[in-house]
């Protein structure tokens, strides 16, 4: 039995059912008292279950392709998913061999998968990918139908969450009808591999957990001031001199593995190469890139942001981003552009001259914009689109239409959302979801309560919010504490971004989240506790 943390007196079954129904949202149908162990996370758009149960036998059950499906056994993405989900469902019990004679009841023998349109099996997921699916669970063959393989992946996760073991250990599922699709298409997690290196293994674990929560973007903030772990083929000196050590490096092969591991889970990798600020580590391996700071007439020995006035800067960046655009298949590259400290630029006489020549006066935001515009154009020229932090918008750069603005500053962020969308740019919301800002107690509740569309604006404006990202900056995070710090707190963000806006009830969310947390634990994710209580399978980790 999962959690008994709240110490509520137990309600009789019928009352429990009515309570559950009362708590449910208007559009999302209630899960009739299928089982107190049942937890769907995130809550699908529409769920109908009946009390009729079906039983599954690990020896008999299998995933199959329907004869009319546009995808078949040659779709390795689906084959791999079938293998994974079989393990998640039956994993620990695989060794209960021998056919237990199924009790009275209908057997569920197969989940038949049907992809309706061109599956996109061997492509990379995109912002426009269709993740919708319908799941009809009835015996002896259940069906999972989706337009593309991405919907199948989401549906398999939901299917695996429907299955539970009854008192006798029999794998059970209730007849159900689920129709599901995400509220927002961009549902991301940001990891920071510069403040602390994260091993490939821990990145893989994170991708696994993301799939359990239907996240679909890993925003890889790969380099920053402290270290440069990205091994560039064009400029190998960058990581040679800029990484913490030669073992704190992501080789091209590492990067390929991460991209493919993510792809198999329907997750996009959006790399961020933040500039012109946050670039101290670039200077170690690339001479004459960063601005030399001055103490009066003499260089002080310190360096500042990337130097925006040298041609060599732009020829370097051009070559660099050309490589990035070939290494990372996603349509978007994140260019950063946040927290540029103007002091060093202001101290540099060459830059002072440049400012005068350009007529920028003392307004260094104009210099920053000048730089960002060149880089944004560079990205467009190689047929990619850009995401930037909000400063790039705030400091009035002329932005290519379609540039996505990531809103991260907490103060007055709803007003920022209004301004950005009013100017016609898409928004990714992160401001209320900085998960590195830990505090004592159940802070998942405040992440859950956020409404990404609660800003002043028209319907058109609201449509420009493409989603959000939970950020786990790395100053105090490495592989020793990444997983418990991210999960299950990020799960709250996951449901907020996937589920219908009316799915907000904290009590039901608490119940489902504690069960979901135990499920993640069973699947090898060291998600920390929500509150007092226990999981059945704690020491499986």
């Amino acid at each position: 039995m999962e959690h008994r943390g709240l110490g509520w007196p137990r309600l009789p079954r019928l009352l429990e059912l009515l309570a559950a129904l009362a708590v449910q949202a208007v559009r999302a149908s209630a899960i009739a008292a299928a089982s107190p162990d049942l937890s769907l996370w995130p809550m699908p758009l529409s769920v109908q279950t009946t009390p009729r149960v079906l039983h599954l036998s690990p020896d008999n059950f299998f995933f199959g392709h329907s004869s009319t499906s546009k995808a078949g056994p040659s779709c390795s993405l689906l084959q791999e998913a079938f293998r994974r989900y079989y393990d998640y469902i039956f994993g620990f019990y695989k060794w209960h061999h021998g056919s237990a004679d199924l009790r009275v009841g209908v057997e569920l023998q197969q989940l038949q998968v049907s992809v309706v349109l061109d599956p996109e099996c061997d492509t990379f997921p995109k912002i426009s990918s269709d993740e919708s699916y319908t799941l009809l669970v009835k015996g002896p063959v259940a069906s999972l139908t989706a337009n593309r393989v991405w919907g199948v992946l989401r549906g398999l996760e939901t299917f695996s969450q429907l299955i539970y073991q009854d008192f006798y250990g029999t794998f059970t599922v209730n007849e159900s009808n689920i129709v599901d699709s995400p509220r927002f298409p961009h549902r991301g997690i940001l990891i920071d591999t510069s403040r602390h290196f994260l091993s490939i293994k821990s990145i893989f674990k994170t991708l696994d957990a993301m799939a359990f929560n239907k996240f679909n973007v890993l925003h890889w903030h790969i380099v920053d001031d402290p270290s440069f772990p990205y091994q560039s083929i064009t400029f190998p000196g960058l990581s040679e001199k800029g990484s913490y050590s030669s073992s704190h490096v992501y080789t091209p092969n590492d990067v390929r593995m991460v991209i493919e591991y993510a792809r198999l889970r329907g997750i996009r990798i959006v790399p961020e190469f933040d500039s012109p600020g946050h670039t101290q580590s670039w200077g170690a391996g690339q001479k004459d890139l960063l601005t030399p700071c001055y103490n009066g007439k003499d260089p002080s020995g310190a360096f500042g942001p990337i130097n925006p006035i040298w041609n060599t800067t732009y020829s370097f960046l051009s070559k660099f981003f050309k490589e990035i655009s070939t290494v990372f298949p996603d349509e978007f590259i994140h260019l950063g552009g946040d927290e540029v400290d103007f002091d060093c630029w202001a101290s540099n006489p060459e830059i002072q001259d440049f400012m005068r020549d350009k007529g920028f006066g003392r307004n260094f935001k104009k210099l920053e914009s000048f730089y960002m515009q060149v880089v944004l154009d560079m990205i467009s020229a190689i047929n990619k689109s850009s995401i930037v932090w909000q400063e790039v918008f705030d400091d009035a750069s002329k932005l290519t239409p379609g540039t996505v603005i990531q809103v991260w500053k907490v103060e007055d962020y709803t007003r920022e959302q209004s301004k950005v969308t009013e100017a016609g740019f898409p928004v990714i919301l992160s401001a209320p979801w900085y998960l590195d800002w830990i505090s004592y107690g159940q802070d998942w509740k405040k992440y859950y309560a956020v409404d990404p569309l609660s800003f002043e604006g028209s319907q058109e404006q609201k449509k420009l919010v493409i989603g959000g990202e939970a950020c786990l900056w790395g100053e105090y995070v490495d592989a020793t504490n990444l997983t418990p710090r991210l999960w299950p707190r990020a799960s709250a963000v996951g449901e907020r971004l996937w589920s219908h806006k009316d799915v907000r009830g904290l009590e039901d969310a608490y119940r489902r989240l504690t069960i979901h947390r135990c499920r993640m634990l069973r699947r090898g994710i060291a998600a920390e506790p929500v509150f007092t209580g226990y999981c059945d399978h704690e020491d499986r980790m």
């Binding site: 159940q442 020793t480 226990y534 704690e538 980790m541």
Partner: protein, 476 residues
């Protein structure tokens, strides 16, 4: 140098010696009171060889030609006071092997070196503890043992085991087996058997760590109820029982019979002289609502003052435990509520602001002549963003108004890791290296307050802990 905690007196020099793992050994001095066969030290020698060199086989040094002058091939231990098979007590000899292992370093080529060093070390406070809560969340035995290992690296010497509480009762009692059968989260998997408990006590002993067991009453006892019907007070809604229960029922003789038998078992299972009897956060509402208790209050002449009822219970309990030859530690409420306790009671100060600021509480406790343990500023379960180890480190336990005699009554402190939000998924990174800040504050000289010096060593020590296969959370 990753010396943590910093020794009382240390003199190093540039002169260094090589150490060859194959021939290095720990040895007993001929006049040592402890010799081969002293299991605590024999085990420790083995452990530290592994930690230092990995599992390298030992070869007796062959008589070769000239031995290299700069090679050190043994650390000789001289123990003055015998006490090998005993349990650590307040006056135990501390283990210097950890300090020695922190002095050994490796060159980039991998050679082991140690600099010529002279260290004289002793702890500032004799009670340096860590509290773990295994009731809010069960902690597997391995987690507890791993914690004991890291405690030893930090020179902590008391494991305060808050075994049971409202949420669950994992301690398997042989006199009252229903306590775990009915009160644990899962009696098959989420319990500590007698064997488990023995293992913890012995594992701790080999590391010079005392196990201070806490069975908190009369509050924090909801999980005791299912296994011992009639133990807890039934709460009333008007004239009828509401169905819920409150603290232990102090008005029944059965209660004291139960406690008598139960604590006889506890006294025999846990060898330390002290038991922690809790006594914190007793909610009077339920007692107030119960007519039998109201009658009892009247009979005893307590009026409306439930603190008197609480005192009555605790005093009876303390007498029971004293009769078993045990001393006790209690939370500060027992002192605040003016319960009559034995003069050698230890009061644990845990409340930061109420009823008074904790520094004031320390003053009050010690001026009344009781020994005090400080925990209030060291609640490690209270996490915040950033390098909070600094605040933890800068606490000065004796920064209160009082005479030197009073200050001498502060026997130390404890870092507390309450379990509402903590289990084996996040215990280690939440505990370490932050608890290290408490460890140094309790061991080292009070003049050690330079944060830069501490940061350098703590960051290095954290990496060492990782190497020891613990997992320390970053210091920033």
């Amino acid at each position: 140098m990753a010396l943590w905690p910093w020794p009382q007196y240390i003199q190093t020099s540039e002169q260094r010696y090589t150490i060859f793992p194959h021939t290095f050994q720990f040895q007993y001095h001929v006049s040592s009171a402890a010799q081969v066969g002293c299991s605590v030290l024999d085990e420790a020698f083995q452990r530290y060889r592994d930690l230092l060199f990995g599992s390298v086989s030992f070869h007796f040094p062959q008589p070769m030609g000239k031995r290299h002058m700069s090679e050190k091939n043994s650390l000789v231990i001289l123990v003055v006071t015998p006490g090998c098979d005993q349990f650590p007590s307040l006056e135990s000899v501390e283990n210097c092997l950890e300090t020695f292992s922190q002095l050994v370093w490796r060159s980039p080529e991998g050679t082991f070196y140690i600099n010529k060093t002279e260290i004289e070390d002793f702890p500032r406070f004799p009670h340096r503890g860590l509290l773990l809560d295994t009731s809010r969340h069960y902690l597997p035995l391995a987690s507890i043992l791993d914690t004991l290992d890291v405690m030893a690296y930090n020179k902590f010497n008391v494991f305060h085991w808050h075994l049971v509480d409202d949420s669950s009762f994992p301690y398997e009692s042989f006199t009252f087996p229903n306590l775990t059968k009915k009160g644990s989260y899962n009696p098959a998997t989420h319990i500590y058997t007698a064997q488990d408990v023995k293992e913890v006590i012995e594992y701790a002993r080999l590391r010079g760590i005392r196990v201070l067991a806490e069975f908190d009453t009369p509050g924090h006892t909801l999980s005791w109820g299912p296994g011992v019907p009639g133990l807890l007070t039934p709460c009333y809604s008007g004239s009828h029982p509401s169905g819920t229960f409150g603290p232990v029922n102090p008005a029944l003789n059965n209660t004291y019979e139960f406690m008598s038998t139960f604590f006889l078992e506890i006294s025999s299972v846990f060898p330390d002289f002290y038991l922690h009897l809790g006594g914190d956060e007793v909610d009077f509402t339920c007692w107030k609502s119960n007519p039998d208790i109201q009658a009892f209050m009247k009979k005893k002449g307590f009026g409306e003052d439930f603190k008197k009822l609480e005192s009555f219970y605790i005093q009876t309990l303390l007498d029971i435990v004293s009769a078993y030859g045990k001393g006790y530690v209690v939370w500060q409420e027992v002192f605040d509520n003016k319960v009559k306790v034995q003069p050698d009671t230890v009061i644990q100060v845990w409340r930061e602001e109420m009823p008074v600021r904790y520094t004031k509480e320390m003053e009050l406790v010690t001026s009344a002549g009781f020994r005090a343990l400080l925990s209030a500023p060291w609640y490690l379960n209270h996490i915040t963003y950033g390098p909070d180890w600094k605040n933890i480190y800068m606490v000065e336990p004796l920064a209160f108004e009082g005479s030197p005699e009073q200050k001498a009554l502060v026997i130390g402190g404890e870092a507390c890791m309450w379990g509402e939000y903590v289990d084996s998924t996040n215990l280690v990174p939440r505990l370490w290296p932050r608890a290290g800040a408490v460890a140094e504050r309790l061991w080292s000289n009070k003049m050690l307050t330079n944060l830069d010096f501490a940061y350098k060593r703590l960051a290095h020590f954290r990496c060492e802990l990782l190497r020891y296969a613990g997992h320390g959370q970053v210091g920033g």
